[in-house]
């Protein structure tokens, strides 16, 4: 089937609900409205209001009650309407979802998939463009996934539904309807913890994910540069092997993401390369990322979010290094 990311996710959720009766979708506007982006469209009609459930407008209790449901034997799929409002649920995610397994020495795992759209580039209102992946990866004991294609989104969501751990499943708003792709109609999985090498080359390794994945791929194409482009797909746990194998071969690394550069996924990947591939490097590691400020509102976001020009400049400077 031809699918954009919304329909791929919708199809994946449908297959998950059909496969496992314990899966319950819950969140603000997920029922009749089908979610504000229509990711859960039609699922209420098919599975009924106890499996596709509107909740009161309260993120901390959405996650808190989902944790309780998981303890009680369900496999909740809570949706947070926008990534920025995951912070309302921060304590439940950080102190409870992430800790239950280890503090009960695995007697009480929390199988749960927390989905939300994130990142900017669509001119959304204030606090609708945050990129929280580094924050949730930092905590530990949370699987953090961010897909950049319809194919990956479906396969990763189905894979996430089979884990017995809390998963933060991030959907870049900008990519929801950006393009369509042929994907299998049936169930398939994309492995969690495995990055995807979406372009193969010799002169440098570019590591990216989410909204910046298509930007990087365009830059590489437009400049006709021979580069490995690694789309991380899973942020935590990081696919160290794919990153290091490539960097050791090319000797140059550029990391590109939309989220702030400082204290970020890029900071982690740079540290990994510095720790484990330092002597294979022919040039310093470069990073292109958001500035170290909160992402501004719609009128300013294009000044803040990295664009192809910035990526191209970085590629040039690595080529000449």
């Amino acid at each position: 089937m031809m699918a954009n990311m919304i329909s791929a996710l919708n199809n994946a959720l449908d297959l998950c609900l059909a496969e496992n009766e314990d899966i319950v979708i819950m969140g603000e506007d997920v029922a009749k409205d089908g979610g504000v982006f229509r990711v859960t469209d039609g699922l209420l009609d098919k599975y009924g209001p106890t499996r596709v459930m509107n909740t009161p407008l309260a993120e901390n209790s959405i996650i808190g009650t989902a944790i309780g449901m998981a303890l009680g034997g369900l496999h909740p799929f809570p949706e947070i309407q926008f990534g920025g409002f995951s912070y309302q649920a921060f304590s439940q995610i950080m102190h409870h979802a992430a800790r239950f397994r280890t503090r009960t020495r695995s007697k009480m795992p929390i199988p749960m998939v927390i989905r939300f759209p994130a990142s900017g580039g669509v001119g959304g209102p204030e606090i609708h463009s945050e990129s929280p992946e580094a924050i949730f990866s930092h905590i530990g004991s949370l699987v953090v996934i961010e897909s950049s294609t319809p194919y990956d989104a479906k396969g990763l969501l189905i894979a996430a539904s089979h884990l017995h751990d809390p998963v933060i499943f991030i959907e870049p708003t900008k990519l929801y309807r950006m393009f369509k792709q042929e994907i299998p109609e049936d169930r398939y999985e994309v492995p969690i913890g495995k990055a995807n090498v979406v372009n193969h080359g010799d002169d440098m390794t570019i590591i990216t994910y989410g909204t910046m994945s298509p930007v990087v791929q365009n830059a590489v194409k437009d400049k006709n540069v021979s580069a490995d482009v690694i789309d991380l797909r899973t942020i935590n746990p990081l696919d160290e092997k794919t990153i290091l194998d490539s960097v050791k071969r090319t000797g140059k690394a550029l990391i590109v993401h939309e989220d702030q550069k400082s204290f970020s996924v890029g900071a982690e990947v740079s540290a990994l390369i510095a720790e484990k591939a330092m002597f294979d490097l022919k040039a310093p590691i470069l990073r292109v990322a958001g500035f170290h400020t909160p992402i501004p509102m719609a009128g300013y976001e294009n000044y803040w979010i990295p664009n192809e020009k910035r990526v191209s400049q970085a590629i040039d400077s690595l080529l000449s290094a």
Partner: protein, 357 residues
């Protein structure tokens, strides 16, 4: 032994019915004829501004807009009861309240356009910027009210929350702080029956939202939120009660979101148009106009003149927006009250490499 330890009840008031008839016992006597005219003009301006913003969004000239269609009386009646030194802390929907507090149409257009400078201009007359995260403003307002009490100012803080917003922890927690500290806070619940696609019945099993005041030791009243005189009276009475040493107040204003949640929303997906119809005759502007006309305070010429004036105000604001030049350096320069070296370096690099061209 058994005894009742708590009894609570919530009053409902309406001053002006759908036909513009007045309940003389409840009429707020401090309102002169010119106030009535001003309230009507404000409500009209609120609606016209909302319509204009939506039209600009549809024409591709504005990002997502939050309309206020149908909720003008709740905003106008409450904001009009404030003095210059009282505080007004909105959610994301009270553009009209802000206008009445003295914020310019230009600032409101500017932040809808996506520029923080719109909020910066909003920092006049003790008004806070609009806030996107639902419910998050209630604790702020409780804190502002605390500071007023601390500094022995004779003023109140007034804030808003939607029916949906009352489900957030922030609502309970902020109101609870207000109750415990008995701070001068008035919270208007702008109960428009919907939180995007979620009806009020899915937010709470309580009969009213006003009764949530009991849980925190605040006072409460429910009003016809489409009756600007009732909203004004309830707000004025609440402020007077607080000034006499009374508890914080919750005013639940029953209104209705006549249109879409935002321009990104399609209400036909979850709400039949037939559900909106009964609210049309309850329109806050129609009844106020009927009343003014019956008192010979208003006529068609005045209406035409008002529309013309408002159109000009709105067009001027839009023209001025076109002249606004965003300064990307402001992103860095407003990050802190000082400039860290690392941030300066990012800014310099952006300039040197022409990131913004």
């Amino acid at each position: 032994m058994e005894k009742t330890v708590f009894n609570g009840s919530v009053k409902y008031i309406q001053v002006m019915d759908e036909n513009g008839n007045i309940d003389k016992n409840l009429y707020p006597k401090d309102l002169a004829d010119k106030d009535l005219i001003e309230l009507y003009k404000y409500m009209s301006l609120g609606r016209e501004m909302s319509d204009k913003l939506v039209a600009l969004q549809r024409a591709g000239l504005m990002p997502t807009i939050v309309p206020i269609y149908g909720e003008e009386a709740t905003q106008a009646g409450s904001a009009y009861a404030l003095t210059k030194d009282d505080w007004l802390l909105p959610t994301f929907r009270q553009h009209l309240s802000l206008i009445i507090k003295g914020v310019s149409i230009y600032s409101i257009f500017l932040y809808f356009k996506g520029y923080e400078e719109g909020f910066n201009l909003g920092a006049v007359n003790n008004s806070g910027p609009e806030i996107a995260p639902v419910g998050a403003g209630i604790p702020h307002a409780a804190g502002v009210a605390f500071s007023l009490k601390y500094k022995k100012k004779p003023n109140v803080a007034l804030t808003y929350v939607g029916d949906g917003g009352t489900s957030e922890g922030d609502f309970y927690e902020g109101m609870n702080f207000a109750g415990v500290n008995k701070v001068p806070l008035v919270t208007i619940i702008e109960d428009n029956e919907w939180a995007i696609s979620v009806p009020r019945a899915q937010q709470t099993a309580a009969e009213t939202l006003a009764q949530k005041a009991f849980a925190v030791g605040a006072d409460a009243i429910q009003v016809d939120g489409n009756d600007v005189l009732a909203v004004y009276k309830a707000t004025k009475d609440a402020i007077d009660s607080i000034k006499k040493g009374g508890r914080p107040y919750i005013i639940e204003a029953l209104t209705y979101r006549m249109g879409m949640h935002t321009t990104a929303d399609d209400p036909t997906k979850y709400r039949p148009e037939s559900e909106v119809d009964p609210w049309k005759p309850k329109d806050p502007l129609i009844r106020m106009k009927k009343y003014l006309v019956s008192k010979k305070l208003w006529n068609d010429d005045m209406e035409a003149k008002m529309k013309e004036d408002h159109n000009k105000l709105l067009d001027d604001a839009m023209e001025k927006i076109k002249e606004f030049k965003p300064d990307p350096k402001s992103i860095f320069e407003t990050a802190f009250g000082f400039m860290p070296d690392s941030l300066k370096e990012e800014e310099d690099e952006a300039v040197k490499n022409n990131f913004w061209q």
